[in-house]
């Protein structure tokens, strides 16, 4: 960026030009990012990468039809062409009577802690040190472990301006270590991964990630096949968060308004057991998905999406809110989508260990994706990182097993949420227990 032009200036200039060209509504996001990534392979450092770039994205509306143009770099000619293209596309798009307006300016206090000078000031040697510390720690636990993964640092700044008067600036930092560990013992393989991340270096224990991954790989040695049965399923923090994340993402109002979501007609209805309450909170200090405003400039808020099993709210952007005659919940993305922020489930009364102790026979799923078909809500998922549980004790990892269910059956059979949880910046990940789940095995 030239010294004389801030990103807000650039975005505002594009908005003015778009309006001059005939856009009835327009917003522009302009910004830059800088990243460093150190790649670990075969328990050593494989490569170090660095990148930096600027981008401008223009969204223009004519009679509700949307034209969108994104361009990398900062060449004025490229940016001007992108503005012209966005407006030309908006004029060609089919008018959309459901479009009402882009958000008006909504002053809000900045969320604290989204930028860390320490992270922003780190150089490649600092990132290499974190990677090297992980390699050393992993090898100290198992000298023959194969570690791979990345340590990544990203620094971004940007602005949003709109024809409705929105003028916002923001900046952020993020640092993450993600490590995979593979242990081979004769014909047996133990594999696991772990990660840690945050906006602030002080919120992370980046040096400990490999140790956790190696410990996980050890636990997954000796996998056995199991028979098929209906069993209790205990979802560890990572697996539970995957399920919760997919569920809240399905509360996207556009999918529901369009009639393609399994959550259609469920607002205000009971969709889960009373144990489940989930709050989406984009205002958490230092939260990884926090921000004072969403990608359209709507003020974020704390939103209870599921309250004691009832679908209490949908996630709206300005388009879906206008169509529904309600207010945006602040979940809009600049490209026109809808996205959850930090999810905070209400905790239960028993700790995870006690929840597991009560299981006579079941599966403990430490990690893995349980995704429902977005239309039908059917789930047919692999038990990727699961353990067989007998009389409250973890017995052995399981191999080649699957679960099949309707998302609603799983949610209705949820009978416990733990009182303890894995905590990442902005995210709370408790353990969940679900009874009577169909598990298919090969034994």
């Amino acid at each position: 960026m030239s010294e004389s032009e801030t990103y807000l200036n650039r975005a505002s200039r594009c908005v003015e030009k778009a309006v001059r060209l005939g856009a009835e509504w327009c917003d522009v996001a302009a910004g830059s990012s800088r990243d460093i990534a150190v790649t670990i392979e075969k328990s050593g450092i494989k490569a170090a990468d660095a990148g930096q770039g600027e981008s401008v994205a223009i969204r223009a509306y004519v009679r509700g039809g949307m034209g969108y143009a994104a361009v990398s770099g900062s060449e004025p000619r490229d940016v001007d062409e992108a503005v012209e293209r966005a407006v030309a596309l908006a004029k060609e798009a089919t008018p959309d009577p459901d479009f009402r307006s882009l958000p008006s300016p909504q002053p809000a206090e900045e969320v604290e802690g989204l930028f860390d000078d320490t992270v922003a000031g780190m150089n490649v040697e600092d990132v290499v040190k974190i990677a090297a510390a992980n390699i050393q720690a992993g090898l100290a636990l198992e000298s023959d472990v194969k570690l791979s993964g990345q340590v990544v640092l990203a620094v971004s700044e940007g602005a949003l301006a709109s024809s409705a008067g929105v003028a916002l600036e923001k900046r952020g930092t993020m640092i993450e270590a993600a490590i995979e560990a593979t242990l081979r013992r004769d014909d047996d393989t133990g594999y696991f991964y772990d990660f840690d991340f945050g906006c602030h270096l002080a919120d992370c224990e980046l040096d400990k990630v490999a140790e956790a991954a190696v410990a996980g790989a050890r636990r997954f040695l000796g996998a056995r096949r199991i028979g098929s049965a209906r069993r209790t399923l205990v979802l560890g923090p990572l697996a539970a968060y995957s399920l919760i994340g997919a569920l809240v993402a399905a509360a996207d109002a556009e999918s529901i308004q369009r009639g393609r979501s399994y959550l259609c007609d469920k607002l205000g209805e009971s969709i889960a057991s009373e144990h489940l309450t989930i709050v989406d909170d984009g205002l958490i200090r230092r939260g990884l998905r926090s921000g004072a405003h969403d990608g359209e400039g709507t003020r974020r808020r704390c939103l209870t999406v599921i309250e004691r099993g009832t679908l209490a709210s949908l996630l709206h952007n300005s388009y879906t809110a206008g169509k529904a005659g309600t207010e945006s919940t602040g979940h809009g993305t600049h490209s026109g989508g809808i996205s959850p922020t930090n999810l905070v489930p209400a905790l239960g009364e028993k700790c995870a260990a006690d929840i597991l102790k009560e299981v006579t026979e079941g599966i403990y799923l430490e990690a893995g994706s349980i995704r429902a078909d977005p239309a039908s809500g059917d789930i047919s998922a692999s038990i990727d990182f699961g353990f067989y549980v007998k009389n409250g004790e973890i017995q052995s990892p399981v191999e080649s097993a699957m679960l099949g269910a309707s998302i609603f059956d799983l949610l209705k059979n949820l009978d416990a949420v733990s009182s303890d949880a894995r905590v990442e910046p902005g995210l709370l990940m408790p353990t969940l227990r679900i009874h009577d789940v169909q598990i298919a095995g090969t034994e």
Partner: protein, 475 residues
């Protein structure tokens, strides 16, 4: 631009790099979203930039910028050299590079119909026609319809210190239709994808009956389908599921960086019989018009047909210049980079199982009770464990050698090596219609996959309906 790239390579050599390459890339894509009878969102995107990769001593450094300004480009070289040096102390597996011919080449793909030759209005009209046909076939059951179309070009210049200078210009077009239908109780969706290396001829070639009408019929069929049973079955894979098997279960394991890193289950197995006799699997980037095809990879190695398994035996991996050097073999033209800001890594292109000689009817007759899996949707693999999952949009029971009642939304999970060994019939037919974007290490690459119908014993199916008694499943 060529002068700039050559100058950077020369500087890299003078400053101690054993190898360097410079990629300058420009790409554009235009897209149209038609939804519920309206062309809702029209979009365009473009990016250009430079990526400089250096091998200094034992380590790689890579830096990129979104500008072709010579000063920024030279800064990239400075950064890449510094990055490599900063990491050198912690390298346990020294980087290597294969010796290659100094290829000078230019490959300009000319689509039958350039994307710009058909105006936006005409493209929108064609997509609305697809949508109308799909909605018409689905009738009042249709609750949502989406047709997406995108076409784009990618121009790339590669120069390296081995003397290569290659210019490529490739176009790709994709079209997707999703029809969601409801019977008042449940929702189901049917999806169809088309993708080619080419341009707007995709619109000329796409017949609504074979595209949006088929998607609508899938959705309607699924409304009548029952939840799949759970348990262990003999399963017949439709070519789309065979494609997922060869891509997810085998192909990712055959990417040589995973093998070298001791993460693949194929490490140390070259030459072993890993699949049933009659099973041959290839990756081939030379197939004209297929979505994963290209002339040269992102390191300048010509594309080729790459045998992975021939008649059951593991015969090769997918190599970059680096992995080829480490395995003392030839590069296979498998190194792909999504954009200028990504390092090239070994990837698949068009991956498929070669047809055998078993007619579908004969394959069916051998199954007393099993499942016919169709409509491959998605899959993933843990190469370290050799465990994969494939998701089918629909399926049918097989009862006494005949196709039975329809089933919905079913996945299978298995171990790669078990599944390859448990193939007991390879069909005489062939289809490769699974264009998509494959993800690895944060990068996307256009790929396709397919094969014939195959029959596999002992596959775990994760359905919702009643469990079969243990061991009481198939045949």
């Amino acid at each position: 631009m060529e002068d700039l790239a050559r100058r950077l390579c020369d500087q890299a050599t003078r400053r101690g790099a054993r190898f360097a390459d410079v990629r300058i890339l420009y790409r554009t894509a235009d897209s149209i979203l038609v939804q519920d009878t309206r062309a809702d969102k029209l979009a365009t995107a473009s990016d250009r930039g430079i990526g400089v990769r250096v091998l200094v001593g034992r380590c790689w450094g890579f830096a990129s910028a979104d500008s072709l300004n010579p000063r920024r480009a030279e800064q990239c070289l400075d950064d890449a050299l510094a990055l490599a040096k900063a990491s050198a102390r912690f390298v346990s597996d020294p980087a290597m590079i294969a010796e290659v011919e100094p290829i000078q080449a230019e490959d300009r793909f000319e689509p039958e119909i350039p994307a710009a030759a058909i105006g936006l209005k005409e493209k929108i009209a064609r997509l609305l026609e697809y949508e109308r046909a799909g909605r018409g076939a689905g009738g009042s059951a249709v609750v949502n319809s989406i047709v997406r179309y995108s076409d784009g070009r990618r121009e790339e210049l590669l120069v390296n210190t081995a003397g290569a200078c290659i210019r490529t210009d490739t176009g790709r077009a994709v079209c997707t239709c999703m029809i969601v239908a409801s019977d008042g109780r449940i929702l189901q969706r049917g999806v169809e994808n088309r993708g080619i290396v080419g341009g707007a001829e995709l619109l000329e070639r796409t017949d609504p009956d074979e595209f949006s009408v088929r998607a609508a019929n899938k959705a309607l069929g699924l409304l009548k389908a029952k939840p799949a049973p759970a348990g262990r079955f003999t399963v017949i894979f439709h070519p789309s599921i065979t494609g997922l098997l060869v891509h997810e279960a085998l192909g990712h394991n055959a990417e040589a960086d995973a093998v070298w890193a001791s993460e693949s289950i194929l490490e140390g197995r070259l030459g072993d019989e890993l699949a049933a006799p009659g099973v041959s699997i290839y990756d081939d980037s030379t197939l004209p018009g297929e979505f994963g095809s290209f002339a040269y990879d992102s390191e300048g190695t010509p594309g080729r047909r790459r045998p992975i398994i021939e008649n059951g035996r593991l015969v090769g991996f997918l190599h970059s210049l680096e992995t080829a050097a480490k395995f003392h073999t030839d590069p296979t033209g498998s190194a792909r980079a999504e954009s200028y800001d990504c390092r090239p890594i070994p990837r698949m292109t068009n991956t498929f199982m070669a047809p055998g000689d078993v007619p579908f009817g004969q394959m069916l007759r051998g199954v007393e009770r099993g499942i016919y899996l169709e409509d491959g949707h998605w899959g993933y693999v843990f190469v370290q464990k050799g465990q994969f999952i494939c998701h089918a949009g629909r399926a049918h029971m097989i009862e006494k050698g005949k196709i039975g009642e329809p089933l919905r939304d079913v996945s299978i999970a298995s171990m790669t090596l078990d599944t390859l060994k448990n193939i007991d019939a390879v069909g005489a037919d062939f289809e490769m219609k699974m264009p998509g974007m494959c993800g690895k290490d944060g990068q996307s690459a256009p790929t396709d996959c397919g094969g014939p119908h195959v029959r596999v014993r002992d596959v775990v199916v994760g359905g919702q309906a009643g469990l079969l008694p243990v061991g009481g499943d198939a045949e």
